[in-house]
Subunit: 129 residues, 2 copies
Amino acid sequence: MESFQVGEFTFPLDLSKPLYEQVLQHIRHAVARGDVLLGTKLPSVRDLAQQLKINPNTVMRAYQELDRDHLTETRRGQGTFITSDLNTVSQVKKDLAFEAVQAFVSTMKQLGIDRTTAQSLIKEVEWHE
Amino acid sequence: MESFQVGEFTFPLDLSKPLYEQVLQHIRHAVARGDVLLGTKLPSVRDLAQQLKINPNTVMRAYQELDRDHLTETRRGQGTFITSDLNTVSQVKKDLAFEAVQAFVSTMKQLGIDRTTAQSLIKEVEWHE
DNA sequence: TTAAGTGTATTAGGTGATATAATACACTTA
DNA sequence: TAAGTGTATTATATCACCTAATACACTTAA
């Protein structure tokens, strides 16, 4: 699991998942968490690709998906910027959280574990933030 | 999402994930949930393949992985049987649950959501069992 | 006007996971 | 012996992902 420091971002990349998805998810989560100032300019496609030692097309794919979610805004010739709309950010955060909860609950049900037990399982986990 | 009824099992299969993984997971969860009698004989490789309209090799791959987890026991010339060891079953169930909890907590942390909030999100979800 | 830095598009190729197909072999049971 | 099991092998096809190389369009600042 190689890790890359790029500006304020730390990208842990491995081969267990698609690279574009990891880049995408890392930026998305950083924004949702509020770790990035709204309006911030992301590294250029070529720049990030070079630093992560991956292909520019792969970075572009991640950026385009961020754009589709309106989490970023791309200005041709200028770069790709984090949205300045706080509502969008908090909505995305809600969506991601909801998605995760759904997946978790679904698995618990498949295993025949009830809500109360699931809750207590979570209590047993260390939760350093 | 096509669904196949095979004996006591209902297999919902789609193309979003590998077929062998879906077969594997479905049986694993059914056993963990206690839906299947211990010692039960699974459908033969050829039989299940035909009913699910997939290749025998794909079914075999699923069965072999179940064997590796000791959730099933294969007797050459006889078939593949659910283990009769209750301890193994409950251990697998614990492992799967733990895995799911870890994934959930990890995502929540990545999103900057604290334990209390996460717990309350789960409370908001319908939980028919 | 020009040069450098941006995103974007296109075409080509490589790799690995997944699934299929066809066939053969080995074991168990009736 | 025959039918039903798991197992192994080889070949083929497809798809997602990634890379490579190149060209184009736009923006900004020198």
